[in-house]
């Protein structure tokens, strides 16, 4: 495999967070002049690898080598100095500073008196934006930029440091097709100048278009490193998932019942517009679309955690008070949110408290809560969902991702909802738990629960959903029945290439 000397080598690295082993014994090389894809399901450990290369995390064991010399990054500054630039999944800008300052931070052009050369800073930003073919005002503050624009600033930032090793963690998730094409042109020219690129993406067409080599990870372990040309997309998926697709998504056929949820003309200025769909009892309706299409924002508005400007939400024909999660809960709604750590759980609190949080008032007697009632309720539900835990009194943060997700599910299922909204229900959890969650959703639907599922994973959407509502840039782009929904039809609707 060693045609040329590897610019960077990841050698047998391991990294654990508490009880969770995020990365175990992973090795792969990055060659100069080559784009290398890193693929794996969510939670496979890709982002942890990125953070080790970025100097954010230190490997527990194993080493990173640059040009055959072991390096030990004590912080991001070391990685930067070693010529590594990283574009993170989540933009990391300084909202109060101007766009140009954000790009220049750390290596601002200086005048002779070591002062910052502002005109040069702005000129640099302009030049980078020209190279990327985007129109952004370098003097405006980063606060308030759209996700796509923030991502473009991140890319400009990485380009400005003239790194030898460029790491991109899903840089295209929020970009339009035109922006992606421009980005790729720039990345190709960097690659041809001898830089090594590590590219993380869920879009296989991008991988086959851009990359020469691919490393596949599953559950924190290295599966394979091969030439992209030697693999088909199906090969990659099979190795990522580790089993056949059909076995994963056991949606049972259910005759739909009455209309549970009716959303019509829902609009929030600048976020989503004129969203309408219905969900019947026993149905699973998926909201699909790219990151930033407004899917989570729609379900959060339905559940009342976010406001909306116009439109109506009806539950069993009755209109639901807007902006009140409490009213939504009383009407039988439950929302398992997208971001488990920020929205779903209170990490410092015990498992028991987390499970019973939305129901504490119902569990109280004469307004008082005694340990017994909460513990009993929590025990019932965590056992039903086969949650692996030490003690119910442990902070929920000590559990693995999959078991945390089960706690969130337990928390909401214990409220006996009639309409369950799940946002990215299997993000960042292991394959086994994933299958359990899918089975659970399917059996809940069979029992007459209405389910709304937001998901970025196409196989999940196609396997689980009776109907797929595809959003693009805050609007409904297509509503596809189970029969019509294919990987192509959903993707085309999501990317706005319906005619292609």
């Amino acid at each position: 495999m060693a045609e040329a000397a590897a610019l960077l080598e990841v050698h047998d690295v391991t990294k654990s967070f508490g009880a969770v082993a995020a990365v175990q014994g992973v090795s792969f090389p990055l060659y100069g002049g080559e784009a290398h894809a890193l693929v794996g399901e969510n939670g496979a450990g890709k982002s942890t690898i990125v953070k080790m290369l970025a100097g954010v995390h230190r490997p527990d064991t194993g080493t990173l080598r640059i040009e055959h010399t072991d390096v030990d990054f004590t912080g991001p500054a070391d990685a930067k100095a070693a010529g590594i630039a990283v574009i993170y999944q989540e933009p990391t800008l300084f909202p109060d500073l101007s766009v140009a300052e954000n790009i220049a931070m750390g290596n601002q052009p200086l005048t002779r008196l070591r002062q910052i050369d502002r005109p040069a800073t702005h000129a640099n930003a302009e030049r980078l934006f020209q190279r990327l073919g985007v129109h952004l005002d370098p003097t405006r503050p980063a606060r308030g930029l759209s996700i796509a624009d923030q991502q473009l600033v991140e890319i400009a930032k990485a380009l400005s440091s003239e790194a030898r090793i460029l790491i991109m963690d899903e840089p295209t998730a929020a970009l339009s097709a035109v922006e992606v094409a421009r980005l790729f042109a720039v990345v190709r020219s960097l690659r041809d100048e001898g830089a090594a690129i590590l590219f993380i993406s869920h879009r296989f067409e991008e991988i086959t278009e851009l990359c020469q080599r691919v490393t596949i990870m599953r559950d924190g372990k290295h599966v394979a490193t091969e030439l992209v040309a030697d693999l088909t997309v199906d090969d990659m998926i099979r190795r990522m998932v580790g089993r056949d697709l059909s076995a994963l998504f056991p949606k049972q056929e259910v005759a739909p019942g009455e209309v549970m949820l009716e959303v019509s003309g829902l609009t929030r200025e600048g976020v989503f517009r004129d969203i309408s769909f219905t969900v019947r009892a026993g149905e699973i309706v998926a909201l699909a679309g790219l990151v930033g299409a407004g899917r989570s924002e729609v379900v959060q508005a339905v559940f009342g955690v976010d406001p909306y400007d116009s439109g109506t939400v009806r539950v069993r024909g009755r209109s639901l008070k807007r902006g009140s999660p409490r009213a939504a809960m009383a009407a039988g709604l439950a929302l398992v949110p997208e971001d488990r750590r920020q929205q779903g759980l209170v990490m410092e609190l015990s498992i028991e408290r987390n499970v019973t949080l939305p129901r504490a008032r119902k569990l109280a007697r004469l307004g008082l809560l005694f340990g017994g009632a909460e513990r009993k309720a929590a025990l019932t539900w965590t056992q039903k969902l086969q949650t692996k835990l030490g003690s119910l009194a442990d902070p929920v943060g000590t559990l693995s991702g999959g078991n945390q997700q089960k706690v969130v599910l337990a928390k909401w299922l214990s409220t006996s909802p009639q309409l369950l909204i799940v946002d990215e229900p299997t993000r960042g959890i292991d394959v086994g738990t994933k299958a359990e969650v899918h089975r659970l959703m399917s059996s809940l639907a069979a029992d007459g629960l209405a389910v709304v599922m937001v998901s970025s994973e196409l196989p999940e959407v196609l396997g689980m959903a009776d109907r797929v509502v595809v959003l693009r840039e805050g609007r409904v782009a297509a509503v596809l029945d189970r029969a019509e929904a294919t990987e192509e039809s959903v993707m085309y609707a999501a990317m706005g290439q319906g005619a292609a």
């Binding site: 100097g55 991001p76 109060d96 601002q108 002062q115 003097t139 930029l145 759209s146």
Partner: protein, 324 residues
């Protein structure tokens, strides 16, 4: 940037309106002596506000400045009364060093002890004051024990400008300049704007943070020297409660308590505004007891106005993006 300009412009306008109104009712408010008094009264507050502004810009706070002023004032006054021959510059250096040491301890506890700045500096507010009290006991240094050159420093001029005012101008101007035009300044803004992003960007967060606290401490120490020179009588309670005025000046001056925005010279203007208000009250023959209530109302008003502006800007930016 425009927002920042309008923010400081707002203080200047408020200041101008206040001076105008007061002068109309009593022209002596604009006399040389009155201006001189106002500037002298502003100087100590402005020096401390400059350091505090830097700390607040990094999304921290330094509540210990009043106590640092106290310990420095007492240390320097004791030293000058024991060794009357020492030149002024030595007094200033000692004040700076004492303050810097106190600030360093704050910074180390915040950065390496991972204790929130509010807790650390609340704790050292007590500790530094307690040290001064156990050192001083009930004693105080009186003006007649201090050498004349030390006491005259407060009243001496250079080209017609009092030394105190000159020092304040240099401190506020210099700090503003560095914060605006040097890498370290921009990094401090970046750290306050997004601490996580600052770590990821490879900014030397530890060094900068320690620097900010050392600066705030050193300037509070310098303020202690100026305090001793100006008032002559120093006991262990010198500067008690000053932290409130300093934070007030910074907040009124437009530095956001959540860091990342505002300017040092804005904080200096805030200090000037607070001082002018209290002297205007005296000139306008308004009950002096109103002063503190006005300061409080001004703080609330200032943060309320900042919030309103921020919300409006966020809304207009969102609209702009929505049209694209």
């Amino acid at each position: 940037m425009n927002l920042l300009k309008t923010r400081e412009l707002g203080i200047v306008l408020a200041l101008a309106a206040l001076v105008l109104f007061t002068t109309i009712s009593n022209p002596r408010f604009l006399s040389g002596q009155s201006i001189r008094d106002n500037l002298l009264n502003t100087a100590i507050l402005a020096v401390m506000a400059a350091g505090q502004a830097v700390v607040v810009i990094t999304r921290n706070i330094d509540l210990s400045v009043g106590s640092v002023l106290g310990i420095s004032a007492f240390a320097v006054a004791t030293m000058m009364s024991d060794h009357p021959g020492l030149p002024m510059i030595v007094a200033i250096l000692v004040g700076l060093v004492v303050g810097a040491a106190a600030g360093l301890l704050n910074g180390v506890l915040v950065r390496y002890g991972k204790v929130p700045a509010l807790v650390v500096t609340l704790g050292t507010l007590y500790m530094y004051r307690g040290i001064t009290y156990s050192w001083a006991g009930g004693s105080q240094v009186n003006a007649d024990e201090l050498p004349p050159h030390f006491l005259n420093f407060a009243n001496d001029n250079l080209l017609g400008v009092p030394w105190l005012v000159l020092i304040a101008l240099v401190v506020v101007g210099g700090t503003s300049w560095v914060m605006r035009n040097y890498r370290v300044g921009r990094e401090l803004y970046a750290m306050g704007s997004s601490p996580q992003a600052a770590e990821l960007a490879g900014i030397k967060v530890a060094r900068n943070l320690l620097g900010a606290f050392v600066l705030s401490g050193a300037l509070a120490g310098l303020a202690g020297v100026l305090f001793a020179a100006r008032f002559g009588t120093v006991d262990a309670s010198a500067g008690t409660g000053y932290e409130l005025n300093v934070v007030a000046a910074v907040v009124v001056g437009g530095v956001a308590v959540f860091g990342g925005s505002g300017t040092v010279w804005g904080a200096g203007l805030g200090a000037l505004l607070l001082t002018v208000i209290s002297s205007a009250l005296a000139v306008l023959d308004i009950n002096q007891f109103w002063q503190q209530a006005i300061v409080g109302a001004l703080i609330v008003l200032a943060i309320g106005a900042d919030r309103l502006v921020a919300v409006r800007i966020a809304r207009s930016l969102r609209k702009r993006d929505a049209h694209v």
